[in-house]
């Protein structure tokens, strides 16, 4: 089971869905010689500014679908002629290691140089020869101080007796287990069978004693907004959206650290329009374009220069440029950890299955 959406719909939801549909129509109806054939892009829902998509449609024909989830099967991905897919980092790692994605034609992506170095050091693709991150986020803790009655600073606060039954957890294995590993002093970048088993046992014990209100996905923000829970595992981007309505809700990177993830563009093996895919990637790695998209999706941009561009735009954009959830400082960055993956796909799948059975998300 995987997260359902990267962003809360909140106030924008209906409008954005309509706008996206319109943009899709506009895009597919226009063609220009620069892209020879239709570019097929499969992305997460609500992950691109509809205006940007419509503008890109002026460059060539794009079949853009916002239907990606991480349980898209290999057959769906590789059998339907997608030129770009946007799996989460752990899944992209599997694709790369299994040789299921094309090497990026970097000769057509001069803006590859704008990838933030933090995304270049993953062991599965150092230097990002096979992927280009689209957006990134942090899974930390959001809470309502009026309901908790105190400051939260640690992952262990999610397991504290005074919050029993009032904590929502996100049903993403790598993020929940990753946080539990950090609480135990383990490193999610290099998970082992032993450390993940320990973390899962800790989560299961808390689950059994009724510590958690529920296991959810992006509904955590509704639970927090309505006061049904006092604290929750939380995605940074959704929390930024929630804070527009509830500025009193706080988001923290716990002292032990938090799990960072990113959804990343890959070109599935055998894609018909790799050159078009490269053109798309290059376009969205222009800091001006990327800044506009950040303004809309409000997740962490992997593009160098976005912050400066937002500052230049002024107003709300400049405020966003100073938001630590979008632009964490160096001290915070050092406390963010990407899930590194177990030794084998089978071991990871087994962990996935056991987690889903425990959380009831299977």
């Amino acid at each position: 089971m995987n997260r359902l959406s990267r962003r809360s719909f909140l106030a924008k939801s209906a409008a954005s869905a309509a706008a996206l549909a319109l943009a899709g129509c506009a895009v597919t109806e226009q063609r220009q010689a620069s892209v020879a054939s239709t570019l097929k892009v499969l992305n997460w829902p609500d992950y691109i500014d509809p205006d940007l998509l419509a503008e890109y449609g002026l460059r060539g024909q794009v079949d853009y679908r916002d239907e990606w989830v991480d349980n898209v099967t290999g057959a769906e991905l590789f059998g339907n002629g997608w030129d770009i897919a946007v799996p989460t980092n752990w899944l992209a790692a599997q694709y790369v290691l299994e040789g299921q994605v094309e090497r990026l034609p970097v000769e057509f992506i001069p803006n590859h140089k704008n990838i933030d170095p933090v995304f270049l050091t993953n062991g599965w693709d150092r230097g990002a020869r096979f992927h280009m991150p689209w957006q990134s986020g942090i899974t930390g803790i959001a809470y309502d101080p009026a309901l908790t009655g105190r400051e939260l600073t640690s992952i262990n606060d999610l397991f504290a007796p005074d919050l029993a039954g009032r904590v929502a957890m996100i049903g993403e294995m790598r993020e929940a287990v990753g946080l539990a590993m950090l609480a135990a002093g383990d490193d999610p970048v290099r998970p082992t069978q032993a450390s993940t088993d320990r973390a899962l046992a800790e989560l299961a014990a808390a689950n059994d004693r009724g510590q958690f209100h529920s296991w959810v996905f992006d509904e955590f923000s509704d639970l927090l907004a309505s006061g049904q829970v006092a604290a929750s595992m939380a995605w940074s981007g959704d929390t930024v959206q929630l804070q527009l309505e509830r500025p009193d809700i706080r988001f923290i990177i716990p002292d032990e650290g938090a799990v960072q993830w990113f959804d990343t563009m890959v070109i599935p093996k055998g894609a018909a329009n790799a050159t078009g895919a490269a053109e798309w990637m290059n376009h969205f790695y222009d800091p001006v374009v990327a800044a506009r998209n950040t303004l809309w999706v409000q997740y962490i941009s992997p593009v160098i220069g976005v912050r400066e561009e937002l500052e230049r735009l002024g107003g709300d954009a400049a405020l966003l440029a100073r938001n630590p959830l979008l632009f964490p400082d160096e001290e915070t960055r050092r406390r963010l950890f990407f899930w590194g993956g177990l030794d084998s796909t089978a071991a990871e799948q087994d962990l996935d299955d056991r987690f889903a059975a425990m959380a009831g998300t299977a």
């Binding site: 590859h112 160096e330 050092r334």
Partner: protein, 400 residues
């Protein structure tokens, strides 16, 4: 009598050509599967130790707070070095001098990681001597481990040159040409004695050998071309990129150490910057010129771009050191300078990985171009010998 001599000579020539080509094929496979891999693995050892050292200094600088990211990079770099050493040990064969160097490196690695841990523990507990211990570890890396790695690299390089410059192919070709000459001479002799212009089996035997000469020449030249490409299109690029990486690691380590000691390193850093400077024909420009495809050129341009970004942070770091701003210097080192350097380093690695794949691919291509040759030479020689015997037998039958 002439029939027996001719057939025997053809068969003998075929056998000699087969033995020579077998030796050549074996040697080519050795280059592809062993020597080339050793060369690559040795370079990875070198780069991994340099990376580990730069990261270790950075972790140390973070003091009791630690720096988990750099610590991880240090551990991963050391893991990579160890894995590469295991590859070298597996592939280096009987070369006793290389094994001796490997033993020294293994012992040095144990001492090195022990010293790093001791320095780290001392830094965390605030014990005296932490900085000195770190310096000893770095010296051990630079002055003992690196030279031993170089010994293995030099010996692998010498073996590579030796194995790729074999002239067995020329001898094998000459032997096949001799076989062809024997067949033609036999034809001429029969013509002189029996006044019959064409003997079909002998003509066929000549054609078979001629075809073999042409195919073997083509295969040999393809092998030479693949070796040449491995050398000029990949290995030279690898060598320059490795020099870029080594020089940059040195720059990074000196810069980080200056933040640690509070002493300016501007002069030493400037020398390294000149060595790399793409505008003055430095290593970065050489790496760009070595690129022989649009993809590689794009990679080289990105490396230059990311180096420039790192230099901006390095200059800020030195300015903080010059202003006695220890906290500022540490913040830059741990933060933007680290990030920019990681960006540069991983981009060089990506380029290196491409070149290594190309290098090993070329070597495999060289081996593949000859793989069919052994059997073909033997089979065609035997066929030529049989046809030759048949040709003589036919003529003698007609005569009787």
């Amino acid at each position: 009598m002439l029939a027996l001599v001719t057939t025997t000579l053809i068969a003998a020539a075929g056998l000699i050509a087969w033995l020579l080509s077998d030796r050549l094929v074996g040697q080519t496979e050795l280059v592809a599967e062993s020597t080339g891999e050793v060369l690559i693995a040795t370079q990875q050892v070198d780069a991994s130790f340099a990376e580990a050292d730069a990261a270790a200094v950075s972790v140390h600088l973070a003091g009791s707070d630690g720096n988990r990211e750099q610590r991880r990079l240090y551990e991963l770099a050391l893991d990579r070095a160890t894995a590469s050493l295991e590859s070298v040990a597996r592939l280096v064969g009987e070369d006793e001098r290389s094994h001796e160097a490997l033993r020294d490196i293994a012992a040095g690695t144990t001492r090195y990681s022990g010293l790093i841990e001791a320095a780290r523990t001392a830094a965390i507990t605030g014990s005296p001597g932490a900085d000195d211990t770190l310096q000893v570890a770095s010296s051990l890396n630079r002055d003992e481990i690196a030279p031993d790695v170089q010994v293995i690299a030099n010996r692998a390089r010498a073996r590579f040159d030796d194995e790729t410059n074999s002239s067995w192919y020329a001898v094998a070709l000459i032997v096949l040409v001799v076989a062809l000459a024997i067949l033609l001479a036999a034809q001429y002799s029969l013509y002189r004695r029996f006044r019959r212009f064409v003997n079909v089996p002998l003509a066929l035997a000549s054609l078979v050998v001629l075809l073999m000469v042409l195919l073997a020449a083509r295969a040999f030249f393809a092998q030479r071309a693949a070796f040449e490409a491995a050398q000029t299109e990949a290995y030279d690029a690898i060598t320059v990129s490795e020099q870029v990486q080594q020089t940059a690691y040195r720059h990074r380590a000196i810069g980080t150490a200056s933040a640690l000691t509070g002493r300016s390193a501007a002069v030493e850093l400037a020398e390294l910057e000149v060595a790399l400077d793409p505008t003055q024909g430095g290593l970065l420009e050489r790496a760009r010129l070595e690129a022989d495809s649009d993809r590689e050129r794009a990679g080289a341009v990105e490396v230059i771009e990311r180096w420039q970004r790192y230099l901006v942070e390095s200059d800020r770091l030195q300015a903080a050191v010059a202003a006695n701003d220890a906290a500022g210097a540490e913040a830059i080192t741990q933060g933007p300078a680290n990030a920019a350097f990681n960006g540069f380093n991983t981009t060089v690695e990506a380029a290196l990985l491409d070149n290594r794949e190309q290098f090993l691919g070329n070597l495999r291509q060289a081996a593949d171009s000859l793989r069919w040759l052994r059997g073909s030479i033997l089979a065609s020689s035997l066929l030529a010998a049989v046809l030759s015997w048949w040709g003589f037998a036919q003529r003698l039958g007609e005569y009787r």
